[in-house]
């Protein structure tokens, strides 16, 4: 039974990473720069915890590289911008134990789970974009002119992306609140 559960977690990681890849094909409101591609990884992290979340993010980044969706300009940049930063989304899994407790059958108040889901999204997204920011000024910064701040450039560039993506994910997370029991709570069998 133990092995079965482990296998199931591994496969869930694979399928959620695949989901993150295909959310590209779902129509998002036109004219808005929004995406919820991070959401599967955050939900995975809230379902299964820290390590599965991190593995899920890592797998997503590997899929992007393997399928040629990644912008590659240097090995270390690939490590920072893809492998490392996407893995950090899995840190949302820090909220998993509290989340599972809050979703226990006897609890009916939705306030706490929503709060936890929103904080998990914030933490995962924030850590991811911190790394994007660092890679931004290290790697893209060398193309910036001398005397102009690569920090500011990277901050503006990644900052707007961060705001849009996080805000969208949080809004969707809140709308999903009624479905936490199906999507996030892991039933003991």
């Amino acid at each position: 039974m133990q092995n079965n559960k482990r296998l199931q977690v591994l496969i869930e990681i694979a399928l959620f990473a695949a989901l993150a890849m295909i959310l590209d094909f779902i129509p998002t409101p036109k004219g808005f720069k929004i995406t919820v591609k991070m959401l599967p990884i955050i939900i995975l992290a809230l379902r299964r915890g820290l390590w599965p979340g991190i593995m899920g993010g890592l797998l997503w980044s590997i899929l992007q590289i393997v399928l040629g969706e990644a912008d590659i300009i240097s090995p270390v940049q690939v490590f920072l911008d893809y492998l490392f930063s996407f893995s950090l989304i899995g840190m949302a899994g820090l909220f998993q134990p509290a989340m599972q407790r809050a979703l226990a059958p006897k609890n009916h108040k939705m306030g706490k789970p929503i709060g936890l889901a929103v904080s998990a999204t914030l933490v995962g997204s924030f850590l991811r974009y911190c790394i994007h920011f660092i890679s931004g000024f290290v790697y893209y910064g060398q193309y910036a002119p001398e005397g102009q701040s690569p920090y500011l450039y990277s901050f503006l560039f990644n900052g707007t992306d961060f705001l849009f993506e996080t805000a969208t994910c949080i809004v969707v997370m809140i709308i999903l609140a009624g479905f936490y029991n199906t999507l996030i709570r892991v039933k003991e069998n």
Partner: protein
């Protein structure tokens, strides 16, 4: 979902397609690191010639190659323009407070070509000529030394192949769900911003639920066929190094050494 093209593999039968993917993956790392030392016109020019030879060997048409550059085109033009104005030197022209220098023009051009060559080189060696499954296999093979330090390389490889296998299936399912929800009146193209996000959620929920269900079924199916992660899995087509792979590797490494010698000695 017919319009769905997965990855940017360009089917072909050239020498470059047949080279062992592990060699291609390692070489693209070497080339990527190497190009960062190049900032003289001559060494970059020779490097560009090498890339041209690779393109000719791969028999991939020019349009496909140019498409690879698209993601970095904006950035490289940006780097070019910034460099023209910012590098000090002989002034060629003035635009108000800005001045274009000869050195700026050269540096800008070199920067831009470096970025473009880098992108073309790595996509030629990796995603254009190697299927995603083979790339995943070679990642597993190159990571396998990490097994010593207890990195679950095998599990990662299993997850990559499952994910790759199920991306088309899940995309198909997303398509079906979208049509089903449209038939029920869900709407993600019109209306207010918030309504559109709500429309998106009507796709997300069934998609997530079915992925969870599918994972459960798949685990049971694999378990009942005696899948054990810790056992060495055999492959239908195991990767094997051949003479031509070694020759290709040696020629490519000699070329890179030559380019670096030109850069640092001439």
């Amino acid at each position: 979902m017919n319009s769905l093209t997965l990855g940017n593999y360009y089917p072909g039968n050239s020498l470059l397609h047949k080279i062992d993917p592990r060699i291609k993956l390692s070489l693209s790392l070497v080339f990527m690191i190497g190009i960062f030392f190049l900032d003289k016109p001559l060494s970059l020019g020779v490097y560009a010639l090498g890339i041209l030879v690779l393109i000719l060997i791969s028999r991939i048409d020019a349009l496909t190659i140019l498409k690879q550059v698209r993601p970095v085109i904006f950035f490289s033009i940006f780097a070019f323009i910034i460099n023209i104005f910012s590098v000090p030197g002989d002034v060629l022209a003035r635009l108000g407070p800005l001045q274009i220098t000869r050195e700026g023009l050269i540096t800008g051009f070199l920067m831009m070509s470096r970025l473009i060559l880098l992108v073309i080189g790595s996509s030629l060696l990796m995603t254009l000529t190697t299927t995603s499954l083979l790339l995943a296999d070679s990642i597993e093979s190159l990571l396998s030394p990490l097994k010593v330090v207890k990195v679950p390389v095998h599990d990662i490889a299993m997850m990559i192949s499952i994910a790759l296998r199920f991306i088309p299936t899940l995309a198909d399912e997303a398509d079906k769900i979208m049509k089903a929800q449209s038939a029920r009146g869900a709407n993600y193209d019109t209306g207010k911003f918030f309504d559109r996000i709500k429309g998106m959620v009507t796709i997300l929920i069934p998609l997530f639920v079915s992925a969870i269900k599918r994972a459960e079924d798949l685990a049971v199916a694999m378990e009942s066929r005696c899948y054990r992660g810790d056992m060495e899995r055999t492959k239908y087509k195991p990767l094997k190094l051949q003479t031509r792979d070694i020759v290709f590797l040696i020629v490519a490494l000699l070329f890179m050494t030559g380019v670096l010698l030109i850069q640092f000695l001439l």
